[in-house]
C-alpha cells in the first residue's frame, strides 16, 4: 500500500470511531504530535507534584495531610500511566525525561505559579484539576488507544482531587473573615492562570483542523474553556466567593458566561520560561533525578547480583 492509501485507510478507521493501537500503521505527523502532547501531559503530572508537595508538611490537620499525600501520589501515578502510554509510540522514558530536564519539552504553564497559602491547595484542586478534567474527558474520546485508556483512568481519580479542593475552599469560605479572605485571595490569583491553561484562543491555535480530524484534539480550546467557566462560576457563587473578572456576565439567552479579555501576553511569557517559578520547578526536577540516581543504581546492582546467584545455584 502506498502512503496516500495508508493515510486514507487510517483516516477512515478513525472516522468510524475505531481506536489506533501501537502496532497499527500511523502517519509520522500523528506519531510526532502524540509524543509531543502526551509527554507534555506526563511532564505536567510530575511537575504538578511540586507546588502541592510544598504544603504536605504544613497541612492544617492529619485528615488534610493524608488527603494531600494521596493526591500527590496520584499525580505521580498519572505521570507513570502517561509515560508508559507515550512509550508505546517508540520513544523511551529516559529520553522523555531528558527532554524535560534540558528544557526541550514543555509542561503546563499553570505549575509555574507559586503556592503561597494553604488556600492555594484548595484552589488548585478545584480550579486546576477542574480545568484538567474538562480537557481530559474530551481527550478520553480521542483516537489513540493507549492515551484514551490512560485518560479514562486519570479522569476517575481526578474527580477526587477536584472535590477535595472545593471542600477546602468551602470550609475556608465558611470560616472566619480571615479564612474567607484567604480563599478569595487564592481564587483571585489562580482564576486567570486556570482559564489560560486550557490553551491559546482558537484564532491563535494553528493546525487544529488536521488534529481534529485525527482525533488528537477533540474540541477547541475556547469550547473547553467556556464549559469550564460555565460550570465553575456557579460553584464559586454557592460558597460566596467572587470570580475576579468584572466583565463576567451571564448571557441569559445562551446560559453561558461571557468573560473579560484574557492576558495572553502573560500566558506566552510563562510558557517561554519567565513565570514566577519556572527555574525553581526545573531545578527541583533535575535535582530529584540526580539525587535519586544512587537508588536506581543500587536496585540495578542488586538485581544483577540476584540473577548471577540464580545462575550459579
Amino acid at each position: 500500500m502506498d502512503d496516500a492509501k495508508q493515510v486514507e485507510a487510517f483516516e477512515a478507521k478513525i472516522a468510524s470511531g475505531q481506536k489506533i493501537e501501537p502496532k497499527d500503521w500511523m502517519p509520522e505527523a500523528y506519531r510526532k504530535q502524540l509524543i509531543r502532547m502526551m509527554s507534555q501531559h506526563a511532564h505536567s503530572e510530575i511537575v504538578g507534584m511540586l507546588p502541592e508537595g510544598n504544603w504536605i508538611t504544613r497541612a492544617p490537620n492529619l485528615r488534610r495531610k493524608a488527603i494531600l499525600l494521596a493526591k500527590v501520589q496520584d499525580e505521580a501515578g498519572h505521570g507513570l500511566y502517561l509515560y508508559s502510554a507515550t512509550e508505546t509510540l517508540g520513544i523511551d522514558r529516559t529520553e522523555l525525561l531528558s527532554q524535560l530536564h534540558t528544557g526541550k519539552a514543555k509542561y503546563s504553564s499553570i505549575f509555574n505559579y507559586p503556592t503561597l497559602t494553604w488556600a492555594d491547595i484548595g484552589a488548585i484542586g478545584w480550579l486546576v484539576d477542574g480545568a484538567a478534567i474538562m480537557n481530559q474527558t474530551a481527550l478520553a474520546r480521542g483516537s489513540y488507544g493507549p492515551y484514551c485508556r490512560a485518560m479514562v483512568r486519570i479522569c476517575k481519580e481526578e474527580s477526587f482531587h477536584n472535590r477535595q479542593g472545593y471542600e477546602i475552599m468551602m470550609h475556608l469560605a465558611q470560616g472566619t473573615p480571615e479564612q474567607k479572605a484567604l480563599a478569595q485571595d487564592a481564587l483571585n490569583r489562580w482564576w486567570w492562570p486556570s482559564i489560560m491553561m486550557l490553551g491559546p484562543s482558537d484564532d491563535q491555535s494553528p493546525n487544529s483542523d488536521q488534529l481534529m480530524r485525527w482525533k488528537v484534539k477533540m474540541e477547541s480550546n475556547d469550547a473547553i474553556r467556556q464549559r469550564f467557566i460555565d460550570r465553575t462560576v456557579p460553584q464559586a457563587d454557592f460558597i460566596g466567593l467572587t470570580i475576579p473578572d468584572k466583565d463576567m456576565k451571564l448571557d441569559e439567552k445562551t446560559g453561558s458566561y461571557t468573560h473579560g479579555p484574557i492576558n495572553w501576553d502573560e500566558f506566552f511569557d510563562v510558557i517561554k520560561g519567565n513565570g514566577p517559578c519556572n527555574a525553581k520547578r526545573l531545578k527541583a526536577r533535575v535535582d530529584a533525578d540526580k539525587e535519586g540516581a544512587w537508588v536506581r543504581e543500587a536496585a540495578a546492582a542488586y538485581a544483577a547480583k540476584q540473577s548471577k546467584q540464580k545462575q550459579v545455584a
Binding site: 493501537e21 502496532k23 497499527d24 500503521w25 494521596a70 501520589q73 496520584d74 501515578g77 507513570l80 500511566y81 508508559s84 512509550e87 523511551d92 522514558r93 529516559t94 485508556r149 490512560a150 481519580e157 540516581a293 536506581r296 543504581e297 536496585a299 540495578a300 542488586y302 538485581a303 540476584q306 540473577s307
Partner: protein, 95 residues
C-alpha cells in the same frame, strides 16, 4: 554509571476472586519482585485488585494487525457455532 530505565513488565490485575486477570498497563522494574511492588502502587491504589501478575514485555508474542482480517477469517463464516443460528419452535422448553 549511566541511568537505565529498566525492562518493561506488563501488568495483569485480578479484581475479584473467580474472574480472570486483566491487562491494565505496564511498569519499569529491575526484577519481578520490584515490578509487582511498583504495579501495586501504580495500578491498585483504590482496591482495584486482589492479585497481580507481571510478565516481561519482551516475552509476549502478538498477532500482527496487518494480518487481522485473514487471521481471524476462519471463524467469521461459521455462524452455526452460535446458539442463535438455530431456530427452535416456540413452546419447546429448556433449549
Amino acid at each position: 554509571m549511566t541511568d537505565s530505565q529498566w525492562p518493561v513488565w506488563e501488568v495483569f490485575v485480578q479484581a475479584n476472586p473467580g474472574i480472570s486477570h486483566k491487562h491494565v498497563g505496564n511498569v519499569h522494574a529491575v526484577d519481578a519482585e520490584m515490578a509487582i511492588q511498583n504495579a501495586r502502587d501504580v495500578y491498585t491504589r483504590r482496591s482495584e485488585g486482589i492479585s497481580i501478575w507481571v510478565v516481561p514485555a519482551n516475552a509476549i508474542s502478538a498477532s500482527s494487525p496487518e494480518d487481522q482480517g485473514a487471521f481471524f477469517e476462519p471463524s467469521n463464516d461459521k455462524p452455526y457455532r452460535h446458539p442463535t443460528f438455530y431456530k427452535i419452535p416456540e413452546g419447546v422448553k429448556y433449549l
